[in-house]
Symmetry: C2
Subunit: 749 residues, 2 copies
């Protein structure tokens, strides 16, 4: 195993800065504000690639009375930052990017001036002059005249406040956050350092998926005064003697352990005009000691500017895995911002000493490589891991190793893992296609035996004991999952199982397990039960074997609840049988009917670009000779329409990089439309030249250069594809062909 | 320094039990239910002498709807147990006995049966068959058929539950308690052990006097299931997705750190009929590690029965310091129960390794002797420490050393110290008479130099910097404290300063500091300013030097607010110049007027037996030859009227043993009516024979035997007193005379 080259030398840092200043670098194209409204749920905070820590401006608290349009508690809300909001209440430490459920976003660090006030409805501020680049964010608080700047290392955050002259305060609010879990404990280690624990969890309103975050925070100046606050429970009669009843009580002398639902720590300083104070935050999911170790190791002897430079340098290295030429500035911005969003999750979980909390257990284990967390697999199995395999095979291997280790620790591969807890969000068995896809592409340095065992377990264990597939009994007995409750997502469940079982069958075949291969292949074709000739779509089946009635394939659009389908309607799922497009075509009555129906989906607005089930649809045209132009046309349209350089420039939740990976693949001219199958469908590249630096440890060729030869600006259809100078037959390509090609030339027309 | 002989050998334990069963022992006379109603604020829980730990049935929560008359939150309420209440909600660990402000009384341990329910309004139970003896309490929960038994070591508690057959639960409620502070953190160490911290403090509604208690709890059976609960904050819109909103959320899988305002830990068992489960609780005010160490050392290899036997044995040893003969069973019950209450506070603070939290600091220090805490000095300086000096001089010396160490750590001697925090409850400078009194009685093995320095500091530091005497400036300049607010207790403050300064003047004199002696003696006479010839009482003085008008010396009776006087009216304070009875007599116009006026206090119900300022009044008659019979008559009457063997058998707050010490002294025939002056006034002993075992390390005589020779049952006045067979002149005796007498014979008439 190989450590990621995260610890760049100081020389390299300054070199990269020097280079960056001389010419536009990929980092300069990144606009972290893209996706920060329109439910993109990304944020402009500071983070390192695959970093545990992010430091994010928090502006979703306070409600309409303080000038915000959206409040975290006023709806189902899942991101610490909303671009159209106006009221800043601090920087949250450790956040999720591009998810659809509220979680994390706590340890809220806020500067103020004047008399100490610990009520966020009063201490928050409007802000201006926001700036964000990878690893850096800044704004100015108009109420206080304070400049805020934040940066991050992998596991620590750093904030630089520039204060006006007078009395200044730094608050750490441990009571609020995006998470709906409550409870924290904190204590002063000395005048400049605190340590503590805060509870997080209840992701997607799952009340049991709870976990602690441990932190150590240091300030580089001794405060004039310090203490805690806590919102006291209201008293009745006793309120006449205790004036803290129901209020925020300020603790002015007590400095030992403080616990409670709604607590915080405050520091007061006398500051000169323009005086800067830096605050460092180290975190860990193992222990306070490890949070301190992370802080000591990653910030040792470094100030804000160096940390910022190193964060930028890490992004420079990672984003440079693909260099694009040609295209508009907006296209490059969209592209590199998508790359930036791709590299946020999964993120590392282990501390600098390699320790991490075991999956669903209380043990503390140690990893040699990187242990990853935040696996939103129902999303990412579609394209994120495929892109990691191509660009960052070392990370993808560590992700697969992590997944297999989770099985060893917990007994199950992950579904939607969050900091060691299985949140069981969304459905299916998405680890199977991820691991099979990786193995099929030649990355096999993981415990393949255990991986197969894990897949076999979830594919065969009876439902009552099956965490991954609780409704497997009918699936096995009948070949499908019947609808047993009005909105039970039964069809969506089964479709995921079909895809997973297809991948598993190919894996079994490759491992010489012929019987298993046949068993799972046969199961993967069960989708046919759902095909309704009457509607020409998939349709839920009742327990008695008849179709669900009355049925409307439109029911469930725009995230409305839908019988049998999860976050979509029948149209969003009907073509989601990527492993058997031929079989689906037969069911539908042949190529023409298939293509016409798929074209109708686009023509009649039945396609939802904002969610995963149908995002591979545009590529399905290319399974049919002569129809590939439809793929190329739709992809170009969708990119132009939904992926822009504006804050609303992602069509919906980025889904931990899944939407971004769709854009990246689409812009370089290929897409892995069937998870688990190591092939790509080709489409028109956005750029004239794309240079992919391949990792020599995994791929023989040093790079893959994709070029597009355009006879004119409006030439957006593929006339011919050449691999290493030789004509390539068809519009699909295997991973093996791709990484050995050296060059791939698209001759456009 | 010498360790207290707390660790008795096992042989000694069994021996003492054998002896106890053969004849009635002092322990058998103790009735821990005395003082548990009528605001006595004692409790029937299990505790060892001067122990940190007490395990007390908690029945002041739930309110009228569940059958309680009194609820901790429905009024100013200061004790975990009220005898007339009916609804039991667990055993509280570490409690205060006989105080007037709510504090401690947390770590509520409750057994239930059936389906887990963590709402105390539902899980509480009525109870029957209460039994309490020193070191042991038991009851039966009628709702569940569970038998509860508790016992304690010095720093740990043990509870034995006897369950019926079926599903049984053990709950530890960390959200509630007598304390008004909130916040706790807890985590599972393993299936049978938890550790955590809970915040305590805000004694007497002082919001800053906060401190943590650390605990480790073990159960001797592995539970079938375990987890936490937490009262969740209410949600608005999000409540539709999170059904824990505003409810007690049960955590069924999470076992790492849990923090919050209102949390708890639960364990569920399958129990057989009559199955016992034991729960051990170790605490510390230093750290969780020390709590575990205390538990390991004090309960190593011991079960409930042995711990109970050892606790009883410790009480046996301590209560046997005085053996009384004659008197009624009720009188012996009152006497030994008073002794029991005397030996609860101050209690030890240090852990088994000697560590304790520094006074008002964050340091952890180590003591060789015992470090004491819970100094309710405005009460106890009057008689508790005098009694400790006589009976337990080793402990009294450690208490004085503790007080001087507090000065070294914090810069001030204590006023009302509670677990390392100065709560500043009540007024005056009460450490001075305590330390001087001890020194005057020959216990001088403490840092006398530092003690004098500390006293001098509080007696001379200007008010703005004077924590003990914030209103000292006028006191020094004018000789009195003027009334500056309607209810500012100014006269009470000054009266305490006079007494303290008198003691200090005698101390200075003894140390050869003649100028200091004169200075403080002169100040001690300033009380004369307050004497109003018009009313014949003390009367507040306004800042302009005139008396406060309109004035009513009755104003302030029954704890009503009173201008100038704290918890009393002018009558309760007018004679409180014990250091200058002669001077006060002159002011009042001579002996007859003094005696008549004092007699009027008793005749007209102006005497308050329920609070400290006037409790020495009955003894003042004995300053006047020929009037001593009045002392003897009043003391006998007061003992009979206010000290009984019933739950209401203490006239008011026991005040950490002060009321009990009054009864003990009065029943053995002597009383230290002027704190700081090593003399006693004599009165008629209750018993025929009192044998006081004197500590040979401090006193030459092995024992002091006090006998009363009664010619008839109604002979209750003293005719003659003989010391060691020789006639004693007068009705006062010095400490030196007393401890060297060997025998003191009261010939009654």
């Amino acid at each position: 195993m190989k450590k990621l080259p995260y610890l760049v030398s100081l020389a390299a840092v300054w070199l990269s800065i020097a280079v960056a200043s001389a010419q536009e670098s990929p980092v300069d194209y990144v606009n972290p504000f893209i996706g920060t409204t329109n439910y993109g749920t990304t944020n402009p905070g500071a983070i390192c690639p695959q970093g545990m820590m992010s430091v994010v401006p928090f502006n979703v608290m306070g409600g309409k009375s303080v000038g915000n349009k959206i409040d975290k508690d006023s709806q189902w809300w899942s991101t610490p930052y909303e671009h159209t909001n106006a009221y800043f209440t601090g920087f949250s430490h450790v956040n999720l990017s591009g998810v659809g459920c509220p979680e994390l976003g706590s340890l809220l660090l806020m500067p103020t001036t004047g008399k100490l006030n610990v009520d966020y409805l009063q201490y928050g501020s409007a802000y201006k002059d926001e700036k964000a680049t990878p690893g850096y964010y800044s704004n100015i608080l108009t109420k206080y005249g304070i400049k805020n700047e934040v940066s991050a290392t992998l596991r620590t955050g750093i904030t630089r406040f520039t204060f006006p002259k007078g009395e200044s305060n730094i608050l750490l609010n441990l009571g609020e956050g995006l998470t709906n879990e409550t409870g924290a404990t904190v204590r002063f280690v000395n005048e400049r350092e605190i340590e503590g624990t805060k509870l997080l969890g209840t992701f997607c309103y799952n009340p049991q998926a709870v976990f602690p975050i441990y932190f150590v925070m240091r300030i580089n100046k001794v405060p004039r005064a310090r203490g805690y606050w806590k919102k006291m429970r209201p008293m009745t009669v006793e309120a006449q003697w205790d004036n803290t009843s129901g209020k925020n009580k300020l603790y002015t002398a007590y400095t030992k352990e403080m616990s409670g639902d709604d607590i915080g720590t405050w520091f007061t300083f006398d500051t000169e005009e323009g005086e800067t104070i830096e605050v460092s935050m180290g975190v860990s999911f193992v222990s306070i000691a490890n949070a301190r170790l992370n802080l000591d190791k990653e910030q040792a002897g470094k100030g804000f500017d160096q940390i910022r430079a190193e964060a930028r340098s890490m992004w420079e290295d990672d984003l440079s895995r693909i260099l694009v030429e040609g295209g508009t500035k907006e296209q490059k911005t969209v592209f590199y911002t998508a790359m930036y969003h791709l590299l946020i999750h999964p993120n590392i979980l282990q501390d600098v000493n390699g320790q991490y909390p075991a999956m669903e257990g209380s043990e503390i284990l140690t990893t040699k490589g990187n242990r990853y967390t935040v696996f939103s697999l129902w999303d990412t199995y579609r394209n994120v891991h495929q892109l990691m395999t191509l660009l960052f095979p070392d990370r993808q291997l560590d992700m697969v190793r992590t997944m297999v280790d989770m099985y060893k620790e917990h007994g199950w591969l992950p579904k939607w893992e969050l900091y060691g807890r299985e949140t069981l969000t969304m459905e299916g068995d998405p680890s199977i296609p991820v691991i099979v896809d990786t193995w099929m592409k030649g990355l096999r340095d993981f415990d393949v035996q255990a991986a197969y065992e894990a897949m076999y377990k979830s594919a065969t264990t009876p439902g009552k004991d099956n965490l991954m597939r609780p409704d497997i009994d009918d699936y096995i007995a009948k070949g499908y999952v019947p609808l047993t409750e009005q909105y039970d997502n039964s069809v969506s469940h089964a479709l995921e199982y079909y895809i997973a079982d297809y991948a598993l069958s190919r894996f079994a075949q490759a491992l010489g397990k012929k019987e298993d291969a046949k068993l799972f292949y046969d199961r993967s074709l069960g989708y046919k039960h759902y095909y309704s000739k009457e509607f020409g779509t998939l349709r839920p089946i009742l327990p008695d074997g008849t179709f669900y009635s009355p049925f409307d394939p439109m029911e469930g659009a725009n995230f409305a609840p839908s019988p049998g389908f999860h976050e979509g309607n029948s149209w969003n799922y009907t073509f989601y049988v990527p492993h058997d497009i031929a079989g689906l075509t037969c069911l539908m009555g042949g190529k023409k009917k298939f293509v016409d129906k798929l074209q109708k989906v686009f023509d009649e607005g039945l396609y939802d670009p904002a969610n995963e089930p149908d995002i591979a649809y545009p590529y399905l045209f290319s399974y049919f000779k002569g129809e590939e132009w439809r793929t190329q046309k739709q992809v170009k349209r969708l990119l132009a329409e939904y992926f822009t350089d504006q804050p609303n420039g992602i069509p919906g939740n980025d889904d931990t990089g899944t939407m971004s990976a769709w854009a990246i693949f689409s812009m370089i001219g290929l897409y892995p439309d069937c998870p688990g199958v190591p092939d790509y469908t080709l489409t028109t590249p956005t750029f004239d030249k794309v240079t992919i630096r391949l990792d020599p440890k995994y791929y023989k060729e040093k790079e893959l250069v994709i070029t597009a030869v355009r006879p004119g600006n409006d030439a957006d259809l593929i006339k011919e594809v050449k691999l290493n100078g030789k004509k390539h037959a068809g519009y699909r390509i295997s991973h093996d062909e791709l990484v050995h090609a050296g060059t791939m030339e698209f001759i456009l027309k």
